[in-house]
Symmetry: none
Subunit: 221 residues, 2 copies
DNA sequence: CTACTATTCAAGTATTCTATTGAATTAAAT
DNA sequence: ATTTAATTCAATAGAATACTTGAATAGTAG
């Protein structure tokens, strides 16, 4: 057997994983799976796809070794097959961010006030939170918060933010986070809070990255 | 702009990078570019593709931000656009290695057979190197060597091996290593060296395994 | 057993991708 | 100016992919 055959075959295997990464809907699905298990139905709703289509995407991801599933009752729950997959997705984002001007353009145009939205690095958040300087809010839905969150963070889903503004002192410093660097929940929260006169920032990246960085995680009992 | 549009667009951008990773020939091309700049013609020869086809693949890679190029005289030299790309490729390999049974099967059935030519176990290499019995060469690109290598190993990237054959005494014992069990650099080096009459072997596995086995590592200052 | 739900499978269509071919650029050499 | 070499562009056929639709399967509840 020649080394040419071997190389051809082995690169074809690696390309299976690459192919699975080559579709925006699949990447979005994995973004949600980075937060924990989801049923096919959940994912279809979140991603705005039909259930059959979502199921097909999930099977492609499984064949590429990116996700795994378990069946419980009527539902099939999918998850990322390991934390290595989160690293892979982060690398992909990193390269895209660094080398694709189009990504910058999109991020800048979505939030014209990007300069003011300077994200807070993870390390800095830990320090500032310990000193009691900031309030950390988790703007993801309650179920996601319950499955794991930054220690000390208060859960205020974006949809309920307006109704909970009285929890904050005027001028208070607030840091919001959600699912990841391109999760728009925290962006929107920061915008709303600033419109009300609070000092608000977005945590660099989101909870999945926080977790895989080995930082402490708190769970609801 | 709605946040749905934003998400759709941003994931579509990430998918551009994923798509570029979804072809074995492109991955093979990038593997060679990891060793340094190459012209289109070189790459076509190495990958066994036509020049026109190789050029098209390279343009896809460039549009995905994975490679960059410079023109000098008649030739266009391509390179990986940054070290982040190497990380991305490593992650991809890692996920494939860990989750795709097919990769294991290929490695075991193809490489293991050729490896009957006495691979040198790690422990044995240490002993023999201390006794001055063998010369150890690291055939990875210079940057990877600089980031960490087997103590005493000489860096001779595979691409430069032909030009450095005068460093070896006739009949000298040489052990080559590179990135891992299916990295073909060391294998090709051994083939070349044997063709020239040297006693050459491949180190069992590669540098990452050496490092994670807790064996000593040397770094450039 | 029957009805119901969640998911998967299978088939069809429009779209995109791969690799080939030959022509068109671009830069250097004569 | 003409020739040559390296690369890119353009057109093409055949393969693969994405999404839709409707049917099939497996588990649950009444």
């Amino acid at each position: 057997m020649s080394s040419g055959d071997f190389k051809h075959d082995i690169f074809a295997q690696f390309a299976r994983v690459g192919k699975a990464l080559g579709n925006g809907n699949r990447l979005e699905i994995m973004e949600f799976l980075a937060q924990g298990e989801r049923s096919v139905d959940d994912l279809a709703g979140i991603a705005g796809l039909t259930v059959a289509n979502t199921s097909q995407h999930l099977q492609q991801l499984r064949q590429a070794g990116l996700v795994a599933s378990r069946k419980q009752g009527l539902k099939v729950y999918y998850r990322l097959s390991s934390n290595e997959v989160i690293d892979l997705l982060r690398s992909l984002r990193g390269v895209a961010e660094r080398h694709l001007a189009e990504v910058d353009r999109l991020v800048n145009s979505y939030l014209a006030v990007k300069d003011n939205l300077e994200p807070v690095p993870r390390a800095e958040l830990l320090t500032r939170a310990r000193e009691g300087l900031v309030t950390v809010i988790d703007v993801r839905p309650t179920e996601e918060y319950a499955a794991g969150h930054v220690p000390g963070a208060v859960n205020i889903p974006l949809s309920e933010l307006e109704g909970h503004l009285d929890r904050f002192e005027p001028g208070q410093q607030i840091v919001a986070y959600c699912r990841g660097p391109y999760c728009v929940l925290a962006f929107d929260a920061v915008e709303k809070l600033r419109a009300r006169g609070y000092q608000a920032w977005r945590l660099e990246e989101g909870f999945p990255e926080w977790q895989t960085a080995g930082l402490p995680v708190e769970r609801n009992k």
